[in-house]
């Protein structure tokens, strides 16, 4: 059995990647632990959403919408659980489900291996993630929340910058065919 294979749609050939056993679970837990540790040891890094970057990366690589959205749901619910009782279960879950689904869907249609494509997609998904969270807060939780602020722009840019080398690092976890 091949570990990587190609999706054919018209003239495009998109490779679907598989990872070493336990890589996805290990990276997910590591990202959540780091996310919780950043504010304690490295101040001013709370803009960084590592669980989101992991969701995007595995979504773009696996290119299967069903697994992408389920991974997003799992990571989002874990992040909700670790954010304390003031964050209801489902707030990050819904946002990351949508991101996981869309990342997988886009990954199945476009070549997302180029650093520039990864930069742009990460920035876009960060904005989408925040928009879904604001929408959830406003519509479902009746909590006032601003649609736009400068943190959104800075957060999108910085997460995208971090995503490029991080994704290159995560590429090493792929199984070669």
């Amino acid at each position: 059995m091949n570990d990587t294979f190609e999706l054919r749609s018209g003239d495009t050939h998109i490779e679907v990647h598989k990872f070493f056993p336990g890589a996805i679970a290990g990276v997910t837990i590591f990202a959540l632990v780091l996310q919780a540790a950043f504010p304690v040891y490295v101040h001013r890094l709370d803009f960084l959403d590592l669980p989101l970057l992991i969701t995007i990366y595995f979504g773009l690589s696996r290119r299967n919408p069903s697994t992408g959205l389920l991974l997003g749901t799992t990571i989002g619910l874990l992040q909700d659980s670790l954010s304390g009782p003031t964050v209801p279960l489902g707030l990050y879950g819904i946002a990351k489900t949508v991101v996981g689904y869309l990342a997988s869907s886009i990954g199945a249609r476009l070549d997302t291996e180029h650093p520039l494509a990864r930069f742009a997609l990460t920035a876009g998904f960060f904005v989408l993630h925040q928009a879904v969270m604001v929408l959830t807060r406003r519509l479902l939780l009746a909590q006032p929340e601003a649609w736009f602020n400068m943190h959104l722009v800075v957060g999108a840019a910085l997460n995208a910058v971090v995503a490029v080398p991080l994704f290159l690092l995560l590429d090493r976890l792929r199984r070669s065919s």
Partner: protein
Amino acid sequence: MVAIPSRHRSLALLAGVLLAQILLLAVQIKRDSRGRLIRVWAISTVTPFERVGAWSVGKVRGVWHHYFALQGTSRENETLRTENDALKLSIAQLQTKAAEADRLGALLNFKTLNEKVAMVGARVIGASAGTASRTIEIDRGERDGIRRNQPVITPDGAVGKVIEAYRDSAQVLLLTDKDSGIGAMLVNSRIQSPVGGTGEPMLTMKYVANDDTVKAGEKIVTSGMDKIFPRDVPVGTVLEVKQGNTFKQIRVTPAANLDRLEEVFVLLTQAPLEFQKEAEAESAPAQSVPAETPVTAPPAAVKP
């Protein structure tokens, strides 16, 4: 039977998962349930890794310092200049350790000053996994007597309250969280009003009428009205006062450094506390608080 195309299957799954989470949100709001079981599983999964992480960071810091010290020592044998460099590095290390000793000394002094007040010292091992809340995780839990709604402080002042206690760890809601609130009063005017967080580093004092007099630099302490914190625990200092529609808009600098918490105390009772007077004396002239204004609890209140 008609087979469902793969794309439609994933769309149906997406709709199903989103609907399930919306229902989960609705259940939490309706029943004020917070999905404790799921949270316990998640915390139990991640806490051991956080402990290992905290331990590893301490070790790496130690190795980092020793590496440089050893490099300096090897050069010391070659020339006097390198010996001088090594000594400088040693001094830097000692300064770091002295700072740590000062910090621990302040904690010990505070504990000694309030030896009759039941409290548990705890180390901060994590923080909220996102910007939606301002919480920290500490390495003490139900086994150490930690329960929900217990106040958390440092020798500088109020930090927050325990919102969830697990077997070996607990989560603390910081004063800066949007949902946080604490019964407080202005030291000079004795005006009582809650102080809450905004999700930003500064706090706000709410519900102080426009015709009340509040000056920048005035100290704020707990009022004890929230039945969580004892009276007279420092909360912060008024930074800025603006007139609002009905109430003043008062921004408050927290007394405790909530961005750099490493060790905290969890109070197991509501017995009054005494805070060091030297710190007050140093800060009072700079913040234009009258010297005769007491910020600490009155001595009589300290008696058990």
